[in-house]
Amino acid sequence: MGADRALESGKAVMGGETVEPQTLIGRLLARPDAYAAAGLLAAHPDFADHRLLRMALPDRATGLVFAGMRFSPACLLEELGGWQDSAVQRRLAGNPATPAPVIARLLDNSSADPDVGPRLAAHVRTPTDALPGLVADGRLATRVAAAGHPGAGHGLLLELAGRGEMPVLRVLSARADLSTALLARIWERGDRHVQAELLRAATCPRQLLAAAAHAPHALWRRRAAGHPALPEPVRWRLLRDSDARVRAAVAEAPTTPVELLHRFQADPAQRVRIALARRQDLPPSWLDSLARQPGAWLQRWVARNPCCPRQMLERLAQSAAAEVRRAVSRNPATSAFMLARLAADADPWVRAGAAGRADLYPSVLARLADDTEVDVLGAVAANPSTPAERLAGLAMHDDRDVRRAVAQNPAASAAVLAPLATDPYPLNRFVVSQRDALSLATLEALAGDPEPRIRFIAWKRLGALAASH
């Protein structure tokens, strides 16, 4: 096979040589492997072969594993749906990948196992009209699960809210599709934590938000402060709240006009000033005022703000605090010239910040590639501007985190990734297995990996290539 030819985005670029489905099946029949078989079954319907199904499910232990795995191919889950095994059925009921026909079959027998009902009630493929039947099992766990089901009907949700069970109400209060009627019913029955959650809802009535501004519980005021439809008089009141988190929530809310926040520059709570420093609509004079205040933590947020003027960044780059200098190195507004200076910083954490920048001068990046600190090298290895020959060297580095950064680098070519397919660290090989740009030889190497999940991915990709011919 054309071992070193690149495969891009699942398309086979193998010259005239092809991988035939029957060849792959034949190879597996000679050396059976459940995960490889599952990979082929996941690759393409062409591989729906009873021999592969048998190979993928050699025993109950393996069946249990696949029944619970989100990556299991649908045909395997359908096969498992025919097993009369309550543990397998429980796992299928809890697996979001389980196909609708299997869910339908499980629904027919859901009364046989009390642990199946709650899982089915939470499953996205459980039909909406099956939910009322499931919650009739009398179990709180099922009602909680149904309350979170994305397709649950309004009538059922109202009924669940009406029972006043706090675990159910907590789930209901977090739904994004709360109607006004449902919200009112939850509010009526919920405790103050549930009610605080409702104050974030888009449908929360203005009168509730207004009432929350006077609430004795700071939790209510904090939640209300971030609401995009907060009435102006309420916002004015919360701007002067005694609780710093409430004021910070007002400062963070994008709907709060920046002009209202002037006084926060001198707020006694650093939390509030940080919330202000993170806004990207601050006038330069405000940023300057914040940058001149003591405290590296606050200065760090100013230094990270992309609206920070260049002159201010120059000044912050001279800070005695390494965290502030690093923040400058990560600010997209920092010039390549300034980055070159930060790349020579005495603190490796600052150099690492610069080393991660794709807009670094090539000569500076080359110098950083000779650094001895692992954090700096890791950033160079992850930098898409790092030349291929440098990446190839870093792919052989002693430190596994540096090697993994190469494996994750979007610019790493098939040739750079190839040696990482035999990395001793399994996570690095897993990362490589998911990269689009791999040579066929690399995929073949991964197909024999000791880690089952890596073999699964490699065989799935080999199968997809074969099926595409």
Partner: protein, 263 residues
């Protein structure tokens, strides 16, 4: 010089497991087997000694059925020189003391200069095997070792033990000795793919208790001082978040105490 490293293929139980029909263990279908985490550190300690001095042989040993061979293959893949597996169906219900008796018999046969065991197993957590092994052998031992300073052939080793409250105890121990190694003493290596492939074809010596001169009464059920009667999930307790002012909370706590104490 020889270092003996007793290891175990430990069970990693999945979230929704079931128990065996006899109710004394987890159903093996719900178990993933892996080299015991603590043994990974004791093996690494042995391998680092081997790499820093010439002429050291590292021998991994386990007491277990066919499934336990994977643990030994992992040790060989990482750099152990030899592997020994001891098994007989009589050992099926062995407690840590019986396992230690078998390991001590292996040590008597292998005559190591040092035994490095894991402090405990991640599944059963008795923390007894290494210490009991030292007792059978009549060797000094140190448990929960987090640092080791030892020159092969020296009459003593200096070890640091981890104690409660963040304390450390440094002690000098006569060698040969049995040390049980704690997590964090080093960073265990990952086996290279080449090592894994080579380990598949390396021999694992298989022995029975009889080969080691042990009688049936030394290893059978009658030799066990502890027998598992039942494994189960305890009933879940009930928790209540007490809210209100300090006075209200105090009142509620007093009511709970009265309720529980029956006063």
């Amino acid at each position: 010089m020889k270092i003996l490293v007793p290891v175990k293929q430990a069970a990693l139980v999945e979230d929704d497991f079931e128990l065996r029909d006899d109710g004394r263990d987890v159903d093996p279908d719900f178990v993933d087997l892996q080299l015991n985490e603590w043994d990974d550190y004791s093996l690494e300690t042995a391998l680092q000694l081997k790499e820093s001095h010439d002429g050291i042989e590292v021998v991994a040993v386990t007491v277990g059925d066919d499934d336990a061979e994977d643990a030994l293959r992992t040790c060989l893949a990482k750099g152990a020189d030899r592997a020994i597996r001891v098994w007989d169906d009589e050992l099926g219900d062995a407690d840590p003391v019986v396992i230690a008796r078998v390991l001590a018999a292996v040590a008597q046969r292998e005559t190591p200069d040092l035994v490095l065991a894991g402090t405990q197993s991640s599944d059963l957590g008795f923390s007894a095997t290494g210490v009991a092994m030292a007792t059978f052998m009549g060797w000094p031992h140190a448990a929960v070792v987090v640092a080791l300073d030892y020159s092969p052939g020296a009459a003593t080793a200096t070890v640091e033990r981890e104690l409660e409250g963040g304390l450390r105890q440094r002690l000098e121990i006569d060698c040969p000795a049995v040390l049980t190694i704690q997590l964090g003493i080093n960073t265990p290596r990952y086996a290279s793919l080449r090592g894994i492939k080579q380990a598949r074809s390396l021999p694992v010596e298989e022995l029975t208790p009889e080969d080691l001169g042990l009688e049936a009464q030394d290893v059978g059920e009658q030799a066990c001082g502890a027998r598992v009667r039942k494994m189960y999930l305890p009933e879940k307790g009930q928790a209540e978040m007490i809210e209100g002012t300090p006075a209200q909370q105090a009142e509620r706590i007093a009511a709970i105490v009265k309720e529980v104490m029956g006063g």
